[in-house]
Structure formats: structure tokens, C-alpha cells
Symmetry: C3
Subunit: 142 residues, 3 copies
């Protein structure tokens, strides 16, 4: 049984910026030697999220805009009383989308649809240096 | 250590159709021989989602209707500019609910509440042939 | 390879009550002997959810209030026809936030941000005795 772990660094450009991580996660899978198993993708922190989406220019606009419609930046959140950093909406967007994603691995490859990519969405109000943790677990050639 | 993988095929009847996958996922767990571990349920594609719910007729109406309230079918999405397929809401609903679910396995059975089932929700605008990938990972009788 | 499973009991105080599970999940990781792997946190049942958040007093108000804004308690849900228990919003909130979370484990510790904690959110309309299932899977000292 193999457990292989690696952290991907992602420099974001601020609120609503989206990043396609598919190729980098696939590279971690290849480095791991795992042929059958899972890849757990986890964002370390509370104001960005990971998930899957068809990574095309339209949805790269739609997703952050719609998350801002669900939890608008301008509203009052009790979180602001605590830190005065005015990113309550960032926390709520990130919590709802979620920090973790588990993708199956078969024959040494992520099992994804043709129009399904792994993304990171920056929800915070400024550019951040993000760390996405990847754990590949499973068996190699047997 | 055992890694067992299988794809479930699901024929959906179009936008908002819900499917109870619990028994079929349980059958994959039994085939695997895993007694303690996890079952990762993953929808391959970007316009349907998996999760857990009390699978009864009321909630089978409520969930798709409420997802349509959050991301309405009739709105303008930038995604439509890309493909002209008018399913921007389908993508957003699927991304927010998420493609992956991990259920614990104990004594060879999925650990679920009595009123908690594993579902697939079709978010696309037409009937689709869906593939749900199941990875059971863990140990057998020791 | 190690698979270690344990159930955490949580007594909630009713709709919207939030509970920080981080230390208790960390204790399960320590008991497991796993040094590298994952911890799968799964709520058994259909009216509470788990996730990660900065666990501070402001967001403990914001998250349940905003979930009530997305799926309001007072609305009509078809679920009420089935059971007459008037918790349709509880089911929808729990399904959208999701029952499962996978956190990486490195050097015998959960990999989390400094301001990122594992929470349970009670979505049901009354206090409940909750069971959160933790599966730690991976390798020990090698």
C-alpha cells in the first residue's frame, strides 16, 4: 500500500480568481506510483475552496459571481466584529463549497469526465499564496 | 489491503431526476470483501451530483426545486456564450452539491443513518446516461 | 496499513448549534497510530452536516443564519407532507453542506490551517444526540 503526499502552491490574484489544478494533481498521482486508489485534494485554510467544474471562461465568471450572489460581499456578517477584516462572505462561500474533494485513480490516472476539471476558487478579498494538499493512497502494479 | 473499483451506470430522466444508489453501492462493498474502510462515490462529469438525503417523495421534489431557486434555469450565465447549450445552472448546481462523497464501511456495510440514502441528482437539461465510480478501500477479515 | 474507526457522540442544543470537533478528531488520529494518510469525518444521519470553518463566535452566528436565509424554516416543503415534522429546511441545509469531509494526516496530525477547524452544524429543529464517524486510514511509522 502506498501513501504519497505533496503540497501544491497556488498564487491567486484575489477574490473570485479560479485555478485549474487538474494537471498538477495528475502529476502527483504519477509521482506516487499508485495505479488504483484515490486522490484527496484538500485546501489548507478557511477562505478558499476546491471542487470540480468544466473549466471554461464562461463558468470561470459564473461561479464566483453566483457565490457572491448567495453570500454578498457588502452585507453585514458577525465575523466582521471579530477581526474587522470584512471577509465574512469569503468564509461562508468557502465553507459551503468545501475544502476537500476525493477523486478516484485508475490505471495511474485521475478518473474525471472530459469536461470536468479540479479547481481552486479564491474566496478571500485579496491575493493569497494558497497551499493545496494532495494525498494519493492505494496500490501500485501488482 | 484491498482496493476495489466499479462503475455504476444510471439512466436519468432529465433535469431534477433523483436516483437512490444506496443498495447498488452496498453491493459493490460486498463484492470488494472490505470489512473496515471507506467507499468513495464519485460522479464522472460536470452536470450531476452525489450526496446523502432521506430518500422520500417529498424531498425528491424539494431538492431539485430548491436548487433551481438558488441557480434558476432561466437566468443568463456566461457559460451559454461558450457552448450555447443553456445549462449554466446545471453546472453551478452540480459544482455546489459536489461530485464526491466518502461513506465509512464497518463490518462490510455502509455506515448510514436509517433515513440517510446515497443519491444522484441529474442537473443537466436532458436525460443522460450517468457513470458513478465507486472505490472501496480498506481491510478484509483479519 | 492501518484502518482505525471510532464514533464521536455530540449532544447538540438545537437548530443552528455549532460544535468544534477538531481536538476530538485529532485524538482519534493519535489513537490510530497512523502517521501518513487521511481522516474521513462522516455525520450519520440526514439533518446535520460537517465541514471546516474558522471557529469563532461571529461565524458561529453567521453560518446557521445564512443557511436559514438560503433554505428558510418557515417555507413550505413537500417533505412536510410525508412526515409532518416541519424540518424540510433542515434536510436541505444538511444535504447542501454535506455529511462527509476528508482531512489529510501527516506526521500523525490533521493538516489544517491555523484558523480552520472541523465543525458539526445541527440543522434539525430540536436538540439531538449526534454520532460522527471517524475513519483514519494510512500507514504508521515505517
Amino acid at each position: 500500500m502506498i501513501v504519497h503526499q505533496q503540497v501544491l502552491e497556488v498564487a491567486t490574484s484575489g477574490h473570485g480568481s479560479m485555478h485549474d489544478l487538474t494537471d498538477r494533481v495528475q502529476q502527483v498521482v504519477q509521482s506516487s506510483g499508485v495505479k488504483q486508489g484515490t486522490a484527496t485534494v484538500f485546501h489548507i485554510g478557511s477562505t478558499a475552496a476546491v471542487g470540480t467544474i468544466e473549466f471554461e471562461p464562461g463558468l470561470q465568471q459564473d461561479l464566483p459571481r453566483e457565490m457572491d450572489r448567495l453570500f454578498p460581499p457588502g452585507e453585514h456578517y458577525a465575523h466582521h466584529q471579530t477581526w474587522h477584516d470584512h471577509n465574512g462572505h469569503s468564509h461562508l462561500q468557502a465553507t459551503l463549497l468545501g475544502p476537500s474533494l476525493v477523486v478516484p485513480v485508475e490505471q495511474g490516472r485521475l478518473v474525471l469526465g472530459t469536461w470536468q476539471q479540479v479547481f481552486l476558487l479564491e474566496c478571500d478579498v485579496r491575493p493569497r499564496q494558497r497551499r493545496v494538499h494532495v494525498t494519493v493512497m492505494g496500490v501500485g502494479d501488482q
